[in-house]
Symmetry: C2
Subunit: 259 residues, 2 copies
């Protein structure tokens, strides 16, 4: 996975395993899609297929939340959406700040997935004075000097770090000192934080390296035993991948530094 939890050795919330928590958003996404199609109920088998997991695992995951299913029928989609949302804390508003408005920071600011689940981008912060006041995704960028005030005024408890690696720890320290207790770190650095602060890491470079490892292994195996597992995949259709046009301003601080 592209992400990895940091710290918190084996802390379990109220009996909900960490692995289950990590899958809840997946289920929630699949359920939301069903909800939009006005599907009333769904079986564990169907939902598991949509989420790409084993159906037994899904049932066990749900069993940690309670008995929300009906035997012989399945799960009520709307009800389950609500229960999972509540469990994940998405029924409340989570103001988020993004620090480091480079390419990646701008991409995150434009990310549509924020608003759709209780997250609200409360502020964009960058160390470059030239960026100050400049709107990104409709939100004016503020200077790092005001970081503490911004955090406190908005009651922010979740911070996103998209600065270069060299600045990440400093920014992290300031965020934590100002009251942030959850951090999503895109900078390729190991952040050290006090107990009680959660850090999750997203690291593109690591993901690619893991892929390269498996790729190399595949290339090596191809000489040895023929597993024959590689059928020529059928093209599903001449598709068009549309993309958004405008990209963030270039020439700024790179979103992420080399590993």
């Amino acid at each position: 996975m592209a992400t990895g939890r940091t710290h918190r050795p084996a802390t379990r919330s109220r009996g909900i395993p960490e692995a289950t928590v990590a899958r809840l958003p997946l289920y929630l996404r699949a359920l939301t899609a069903l909800s939009e199609r006005s599907v009333p109920t769904v079986s564990s088998e169907e939902l598991a297929a949509a989420a790409g997991v084993n159906s037994a695992k899904l049932r066990k995951d749900f069993s940690y939340l309670g008995s929300y299913g009906t035997r012989g029928v399945g799960y009520d989609v709307e009800y389950l959406v609500y229960q999972i949302s509540r469990e994940l804390g998405l029924t409340q508003d989570w103001p988020v700040v993004i620090v480091g408005i480079g390419n990646l920071g701008a991409a995150l600011a434009n990310y549509g997935g924020f608003a759709s689940r209780g997250f609200r981008v409360a502020a964009l912060i960058d160390a470059d004075p030239a960026m100050a006041g400049k709107p990104v995704a409709g939100i004016p960028v503020q200077h790092t000097d005001d970081l503490e005030k911004i955090i406190k005024d908005n009651g922010v408890s979740i911070g996103v770090i998209a600065t270069p690696a060299g600045a990440a720890q400093q920014v992290c320290d300031r965020l934590v000192a100002a009251g942030v207790t959850s951090i999503l770190n895109f900078a390729p650095t190991v952040l050290s934080v006090p107990d009680g602060v959660d850090v999750r890491k997203v690291d593109l470079s690591i993901e690619l390296q893991i892929l390269a490892f498996h790729e190399q292994r595949k290339a090596g195996e191809e000489t040895a035993a023929g597993d024959g597992a590689l059928p020529a995949a059928a093209p599903r259709g001449a598709a068009a991948a549309d993309s958004s046009a405008d990209q963030g301003p270039d020439g700024d601080v790179p979103a992420v530094m080399p590993a």
Copy 2:
């Protein structure tokens, strides 16, 4: 972690556990930093601290690669850098294509971590004809129509998908059909691929939701048992930053779709 592996139930390469493979890039980064500071050797304790892991775990991880340490001394930094690089397949050139040059795709194209490890951005691909020829990060964007030819001409085996969710599966199918066997997926969708193809997923929305879960738990605990670790949480309801902060225009396709 922000990422999660897909498929591949318990496939182990040559005895190297998957969890270990996922940590090798972490060690490699720490070692590279040491190498740049001309540190000749490092103990498992020091390196573990730098990588943010347990020293016993680190030693066990290295033991899967072989006995590269010297008892009483530690590990030779340069030698270990080489061994890990070789194990991860980073001593060879990996041409990579990025499909979907929106905000996120552009950020990835500008990502410095590519070139520094055997990865080379061979091409940028987008479905928007208006993007064609336009240089991003010094590389001209090419149209989706030429996807298959680009893959084959460059011998690409690793593809990065940064398209909207709706286009991801189609793009994935075309990439796989053209010969790509490893995919890094940034679109919030479960991709289905044939056996033999590795998919890794990076999903910002999921990461935030997991953080929200823990954040909510922390807020809830503060009332109950005094763990002592939680300083008084800041009020969250305070005034919103800017009212005019409308999220990005929805007509503009976001780099990643809402979950």
